[in-house]
């Protein structure tokens, strides 16, 4: 089992420990996950799949809850999508 997983967040390469969530990868990249309907930057609030503030696109699929998604090698994550 590899110790770390490599994925891209908005095209930038990010390395996370195995078992980390996509929300963590986005945080490590120093980015908010989404922009609210009035233009505010937003990041995870509840950490458990309830608040929907952590939504990002993962491999082209929009509005995924990143705090409940484990990182996979080579994942393509886009914020503010």
């Amino acid at each position: 089992m590899p110790d770390s997983v490599n994925l891209t967040v908005n095209g930038r390469s990010v390395s996370v420990p195995h078992g980390a969530t996509v929300a963590v990868a986005v945080a490590i990249a120093g980015l908010p996950c989404r922009t609210s309907v009035t233009g505010e930057p937003r990041g995870p609030l509840c950490g458990m799949g309830i608040c929907f503030e952590c939504r990002v696109s993962i491999n082209g699929k929009r509005h995924c809850r990143s705090c409940q998604t484990l990182c996979d090698q080579g994942m393509d994550v886009k914020t503010n999508d």
């Binding site: 309907v37 699929k61 929009r62 509005h63």
Partner: protein
């Protein structure tokens, strides 16, 4: 004021009641609006908010077109939360038989001054790229619009209140012998209007309004995915049927970028729970027309009850069984569209002004003659 507490008492704070309140109040009448719950909490809060001309019959066309032009006149004053968008409707034709219907409608509207455009398959694909391949074409009606009904009702009521109308919410209402009972008090008026939609037979027993249940689903935000309200031509077959449960492809882009997915019709269903089979059929139909909907996030499903009459025209005018009550109900799926037109012709009629379109087709007294032939 002849001892009456008000000039007009309107029961029902949905879109039709709100429009009646607006019409009465801006003519200087003393208006009282009553509702047992909240503003727009009935069918108004459940429906799609589509402003659409329809050509089922001359009478339906007249009222929908008239009312649509009134909405256009109102448009500059509407508050932002009403979200009025003139996105237009496209009636989608899946085959040549439906294209013949497209051409018939085009001709019908053309003769009556409603601008429409026949769309070839290619043009349709340009306008709505996410429709599946193989559609035959469609009819674009550019003056149709969408809005957000609860805020539209609230806007009309707020304007009425600026003209002095009173609003009392949250108390049940009863009417008898020309007296309106609510909140432990009695009110009387020159005009008492029943605008309670699907609940109107509870207030005025015996009127021919039945519940026609519908389902809707709303998605998360996908801005730019859909530009027009899309309706399949088979919708008309669905709306026409008086007996069976049916679904039809009917999609609306909300200003938020959310997609509102409809529609369904059921008779005899009294409970407001979601019917899973009908819902599934409705969603399958939508996916047949726009496959990418399949992987969109559905946030919530809900139901509503349209107030339906046997001849598919609303009841506007004096109630035959109780001439102290005026009816403004039975609008089925066209309540939002025809609310302002209904209010205008009703209030014209009762104040002795000649309505701009004839009111006769909608008078409740037609029932005695027509309904027996249904």
């Amino acid at each position: 004021m002849n001892g009456k507490s008000h000039d007009a008492i309107i029961i029902g704070a949905g879109i039709v009641g709100a429009a009646c309140a607006y019409e009465c109040a801006r003519r200087g009448m003393r208006v009282l609006v009553l509702d047992r719950e909240i503003v727009g909490g009935g069918t108004t809060g459940a429906g799609m908010g589509h402003i659409v001309v329809m050509d089922d019959s001359e009478a339906q066309f007249a009222l929908t077109r008239y009312s649509q032009t009134l909405w256009q006149e109102l448009r500059p004053q509407l508050s932002d939360d009403v979200e009025y968008e003139q996105c237009g409707t496209i009636w989608v034709a899946a085959d040549e038989e439906e294209m013949a219907e497209v051409r018939r409608k085009h001709e019908f509207y053309s003769q009556r001054g409603v601008p429409t455009e026949v769309l070839s398959a290619d043009r349709l694909k340009n306008l709505e790229p996410h429709l599946r391949n193989g559609m035959a074409g469609g009819l674009l009606v550019p003056e149709d619009a969408v809005l957000y009904p609860p805020c539209a009702a609230d806007f009309l009521l707020s304007t009425a209140r600026k003209h002095g109308a009173e609003l009392r919410l949250g108390e049940s209402v009863a009417v008898g012998e020309g007296v309106v009972y609510t909140s432990g008090r009695e009110f009387t008026a020159r005009f008492t209007i029943n605008a309670t939609g699907a609940a109107s037979p509870q207030l005025t027993p015996g009127i021919e309004v039945k519940k026609r249940k519908g389902h809707l689903v709303i998605t998360d935000r996908y801005p730019g995915f859909l530009r027009h309200q899309l309706v399949e031509l088979g919708y008309l077959k669905s709306a026409h049927s008086v007996t069976s449960d049916s679904v039809a492809f009917n999609l609306q882009p909300r200003r938020t970028g959310q997609i509102l997915i409809g529609s369904s019709r059921q008779y005899g269903a009294e409970h407001s729970e979601v019917d899973h089979d009908i819902l599934a059929r409705m969603l399958q139909r939508a996916q047949e027309y726009m496959p990418e909907i399949a992987t969109m996030w559905a946030i919530r499903a809900w139901t509503g009850f349209r107030p339906a009459t046997p001849d598919k025209l609303p009841l506007i005018g004096p109630c035959p069984s109780d001439n102290l009550v005026l009816l403004a109900t039975g609008h089925e799926g066209l309540g939002i569209t025809t609310s302002v037109g209904t209010a205008r012709i009703l209030v014209d009629h009762i104040t002795g002004v000649k309505p701009e379109i004839p009111i006769e087709p909608y008078l409740p007294s037609r029932a005695a003659k027509e309904f027996t032939h249904a």
